[in-house]
């Protein structure tokens, strides 16, 4: 730690310095609907409004570390429960926060269906809300979080086209039908089950079969799969249009 400095040790005295926040778009699929994890704000500004979980970068902390720390602190989700996380984008309009100019680095996370979230450290509530309910309702999220959420949803829709990441919404092992329901929830359409099965099982690296099956449910047992090792799908999954 030879480079460790106090906050007051600044190499460019004249340069503008800004608070840097990390905000999280945590998505999951519940009851065949794409949902986002939101926090009800306990303090001004936007007190009582729904917002994305997030917090400020601390001294010596990387952006990924901040994202992981805030996820755990604010929503109780451990790192091991996260199916996938990537940086979504950075939002820096000078007036996006009424208090002062704050830079927000947004991260996008996919998690399997979660138990009801518990309230975080502050006295605020967490909830898992269907995306459709937010876009049709007139209620806006705090700050520019509507815009960030919209970007996260669009990124997610695109990611499912050319990566095998839909599996990140399922557990470690899943059926082809569970995977199809993820696609249907995220894309908001229905897909032909036989064609989907053929596509998924014949595309190299999309999924790999385990030697286990489902049991106890009605109907024929289904083969269980886990995510394959491909980074991209060749050819991609198509959603028409």
């Amino acid at each position: 730690m030879t480079n460790k400095k106090y906050i007051t040790s600044q190499s460019f005295p004249s340069i503008l310095r800004l608070p840097v926040a990390v905000d999280l778009v945590v998505l999951t699929v519940r009851d065949a609907a794409l949902c986002v994890l939101l926090i009800k704000r306990g303090i001004a500004p936007f007190k009582g409004k729904w917002a994305l979980p997030g917090g400020f970068v601390c001294t010596g902390e990387s952006l990924e570390a901040t994202a992981q720390r805030e996820l755990t602190e604010e929503t109780g989700i451990a790192a091991a429960q996260v199916g996938y996380m990537e940086q979504l984008g950075t939002f820096g309009a000078p007036n996006r926060d009424p208090r002062e100019h704050i830079i927000a680095v947004a991260y996008l996370a996919f998690v399997p269906n979660l138990p009801e979230p518990k309230a975080g450290g502050d006295a605020h509530f967490a909830a898992i809300v269907p995306i459709s309910q937010l876009f049709e309702g007139a209620e806006k999220l705090a700050f520019d979080h509507d815009v960030i959420l919209q970007a996260g949803v669009e990124r997610t829709r695109a990611k499912l086209e050319y990566t095998p990441l839909a599996a990140a919404f399922c557990g470690a092992e899943f059926t082809i039908n569970a995977l199809r329901k993820v696609y249907e929830a995220v894309w908001g359409c229905t897909l032909d089950a036989p064609n989907f099965h053929r596509k998924v099982t014949k595309t190299a690296g999309f999924v790999e079969a385990t030697d286990a099956q489902t049991s106890g449910e009605s109907g024929r047992p289904a083969q269980l799969f886990r995510q394959g090792n491909a980074l991209a799908l060749h050819p991609p999954m198509l959603r028409g249009g």
Copy 2:
């Protein structure tokens, strides 16, 4: 400007504040090679090393405004000359700058073939360097700019698959062959000219024909096209594999 504040007016006295820089990955195609615009640093740290152009966010300035300002200031490229620009990602490792923790928001720009850049305001030099030369050579760029550049190149390769943005490397009007040479330079492969022609002209919104042709060059004159209005290609352009 009711919210205008002095730099010293801070709503969260205890929150860490960091300098926020915007760095630019400016790509162009020259002599059938994908190239990047670099600046030779005139000051420490990394004095004399090649680096991406960039600079710090100023008071009241959005990230896009910073990107555009730095592009003009450091490389002399006007906004009208830029074919396309988007945010690439944000890099925030605490030790990425030896002086102190600085957040870098990277932007990716595509520009048509440029005249030799002139030196910017500071006494530093700008140059347009083939990507291949950077990746095979042992010389590293300043800071984490190798990583940022790599991310920009990979984003660009992916963008050409599912958007019509290759045209942003050409001028307003271009031939199908000029467009194909962009793909070949970015992807580092050769593409079959007749098949490429069919694909580009039959995919809705990829290009639209003008009523002009080339003339004066050897061989049959080529039809001139401009970029179509599609945001995404359906189906996408494939690069095998």
